[in-house]
């Protein structure tokens, strides 16, 4: 006798903007269990990094994620700078910080818009995305590109921030701040949004720590953890970000925390522009080879702690670059949060984790029952041989 119905959510699903499969086991509408299946979008970026030069890899690794590309470039670049013994000018650090905080604002706006869409609030989705476009415009006038910032360079940034651009950024930020406050109020006060998000996918502080969750998901469960404060990089040691923490641990707390973080980012950008030191942030010559060694680099991406482990054997290319993205922890380890909730809550809970699937993909295959653990070689992957027999 079948005790439950298995419903596949994904790998192609209107609630998911990237391919991932949640095998949901249902008893009526109540979730009995969820298997999270990844592997639909693996691109072999780490391997590609080993084949290319230190400088080219800035562009390769920033393309791991379209939304948080500047933080990928930052994590990689600051690691490589440490390996090469290069210290970027302070002005470059401030410009990098501004770009990363703009990215945090639009990333948090995006996922809140996606949450609105997941609960059928299409109008709110449209309104948030419309305002998010202003942030994308700021990113474009600061970096030259709307989506991929590509402003990081070993030893600095690729272009300076002109005074008139900085002024425009400040002007638009006034508008953005007002809109962020409005949307936060909508999430706080809308009866139906609260009904759909409050108490859904609750994660206690102990559970969040036990399952190694990171970023807003961890902070919404009451753990004050933020790499910008714990291990400051770029200009964060001077700008002093405040860690936003909530204690409810549910989907609503995760979304409201993101609005607060976006508001904190607005403050950080204002402070960065106000206190920006003078000087030339663009490196005159770029170092193209590193000595032997390895480095561990981490930053606070919009989704949480992003880690790069870079190994060099000397020469023009890295020997190994290992990337651990926040989504990998938050998505793969969070199956427990769905149990006991309803099918209608599954997209809500998944969205509240801010999933980035291209960040999550791995091809390490582990079969716990048979004790199998196997890496799939790049060539085998390119031939489509991704199954363990």
């Amino acid at each position: 006798m079948v005790k439950y119905v298995e419903v596949p959510v994904g790998p192609q699903h209107p609630a998911l903007h990237e391919p991932i499969m949640l095998r949901v086991r249902l008893d009526g509408e109540v979730v009995e269990g969820v298997d999270i299946v990844t592997g639909y979008n693996h691109r072999g970026v780490e391997k590609l990094g080993e084949k290319n030069s230190w400088v080219r890899d800035i562009y390769i690794f920033s393309r791991i994620c379209g939304i948080c590309n500047a933080v990928h470039a930052q994590t990689y670049t600051q690691g490589v700078e440490k390996l090469m013994g290069v210290e970027p000018p302070l002005r470059a650090k401030y410009i990098r910080t501004i770009v990363m905080e703009l990215e945090r604002i639009h990333s948090h706006m995006l996922i809140n818009a996606v949450m609105a869409e997941a609960i059928g609030f299409d109008t709110l989705f449209m309104l948030i995305m419309r305002d998010r476009e202003r942030v994308m415009h700021l990113k474009e006038i600061v970096t030259g590109q709307r989506v991929h910032a590509d402003i990081h360079m070993i030893g600095g940034v690729k272009r300076d921030l002109r005074p008139e651009t900085a002024e425009k950024v400040l002007r638009v930020l006034d508008y953005i701040e007002a809109r962020l406050r409005y949307y936060k109020k909508v999430f706080e006060e809308d009866y139906t949004i609260r009904k759909r998000l409050e108490g859904v996918g609750k994660i206690s502080k102990q559970e969040a720590l036990k399952h190694s969750l990171v970023g807003p998901v961890l902070r919404a469960s009451g753990v004050p953890s933020d790499v910008r404060v714990d291990d400051p990089y770029s200009a964060y040691d001077e700008l002093k970000p405040n860690i936003v923490v909530r204690h409810e641990g549910d989907s609503l707390a995760r979304m409201l925390l993101r609005w607060d973080e976006a508001l904190e980012s607005v403050r950080l950008i204002r402070d960065a522009i106000k206190n920006m030191p003078k000087g030339n942030p663009v490196p005159k010559a770029i170092k193209r080879a590193a000595g032997k060694g390895e480095v561990f680099s981490r930053v606070e991406a919009p989704r949480g702690e992003l880690i790069y482990h870079i190994v060099s054997t000397g020469g023009p290319k890295p020997y190994r670059v290992k990337v651990r993205t926040p989504s990998f922890n938050n998505i793969v380890n969070s199956g427990f949060a769905y149990i006991g909730e309803r099918l209608a809550d599954v997209p809500v809970i998944l969205t509240s984790f801010d999933p980035c699937i291209s960040c999550t993909e791995r091809v390490l295959v582990v079969d716990e029952k048979r004790g199998l653990r196997k890496w799939v070689p790049f060539m085998a992957l390119s031939r489509g041989e991704i199954r363990v027999t």
Partner: protein
């Protein structure tokens, strides 16, 4: 005998032309365009602009496009039943307007409100069977949610829609619980006494919520929640079969609010169908458009309830007040 043939021909023409099929097609095209424009305005978009004047013919273009597509069916689905059942539903719901004063030669009989409610129920039955004809986990979940919603919203709708004929019979026994005569006396239902006005107000509120549920308008659109179960009942459908399913649902979105306007919002008041048909018809259309716009705005401004939340809402704010209003109406009429 000649009069009998003439009546049959007139009724057939009414069913096919006005207020039947042709009129309904025109109304669907206009109301869908209006809905899309209203929802676009709320989201700072422009909505349809390209096909026809101000994009008015876009729904027709979409409908023709769906009809022109290849009819794809899978190996496990029932092929004839969805077409048969949705055709029955379309026919039955179009027939409903023949029982109203909108129809130049109206059909009526004592207690015909029961027949009207029976005809309205065909939409629910047909949509459930339409979904179940194409087996799929999402379709089954969608149909399950749809039936659960109908279990609470259809009785609430029936109870609420029964109140005006009962009140009308209390005021004027010659209305005999017929839809036609209830609508002809619709303005008196609110003005005859304070008790009747109260009962009508409760039934009007409950009936409105129930109507949203029956039409699966947000926040009650969980049977087709695309972010959760793809598209529920419609998941397996495309092309002409999908067009047929949509046709029935769009018809429901015209007929139900129109009945609501004629029963609860004073019908053609301040005009009367008996004295000035054209003015009465325009007034009904304007009132309908106001209610329809309100429904479109609610659909645009609201997120979706979870199935259990939606059903709980219906029990609290639709079925309970509708039942209370029905009981009060019966008691007040008996006294």
């Amino acid at each position: 005998m000649d009069a009998w043939i003439s009546n049959v021909v007139t009724l057939v023409l009414e069913a096919l032309v006005f207020p039947g099929f042709m009129f309904m097609m025109a109304m669907i095209i206009f109301t869908q365009w209006w809905w899309r424009k209203a929802s676009a305005r709320m989201a700072y978009r422009r909505g349809p602009t390209r096909t026809g004047p101000a994009g008015t013919l876009q729904p027709l273009a979409d409908f023709l496009k769906l009809l022109a597509k290849e009819d794809i069916t899978n190996g496990l689905m029932l092929r004839r039943l969805p077409i048969l059942i949705t055709s029955f539903a379309a026919g039955s719901i179009i027939t409903v307007l023949l029982f109203t004063p909108l129809s130049p030669l109206a059909l009526w009989s004592p207690f015909d409100i029961v027949i009207v409610l029976y005809l309205l129920l065909w939409v629910a039955v047909s949509m459930a069977l339409y979904g179940l004809s194409a087996p799929n986990p999402y379709t089954n979940l969608g149909v399950g949610r749809y039936l659960a919603l109908l279990t609470v919203s259809e009785p609430a709708l029936f109870a609420a829609f029964l109140v005006p004929p009962i009140v009308a019979a209390g005021i004027n026994p010659s209305t005999q619980y017929s839809l036609y005569w209830t609508i002809m006396n619709a303005a008196n239902l609110w003005t005859s006494s304070a008790v009747n006005a109260t009962v009508m107000a409760i039934a009007a509120i409950a009936g409105f919520f129930a109507m949203l549920g029956v039409m699966t308008v947000k926040p009650f659109d969980f049977p087709e929640a695309e972010g959760e179960i793809y598209w529920g009942m419609f998941t397996e459908y495309g092309g002409p079969r999908l067009a047929l399913g949509f046709f029935v649902l769009f018809l429901e979105k015209i007929i139900l609010p129109m009945l609501y306007v004629m029963l609860f919002l004073g019908g053609a008041a301040p005009f009367s169908f008996a004295d000035n048909y054209v003015a009465a018809f325009i007034i009904v259309l304007m009132k309908y458009l106001a209610v329809y716009t309100l429904i479109a705005l609610i659909d645009t401004m609201m997120p979706r309830y979870r199935p259990d939340q939606g059903i709980r809402f219906m029990i609290k704010y639709a079925i309970t007040p509708a039942t209370i209003a029905l009981i009060f109406a019966v008691v007040a009429t008996a006294i």
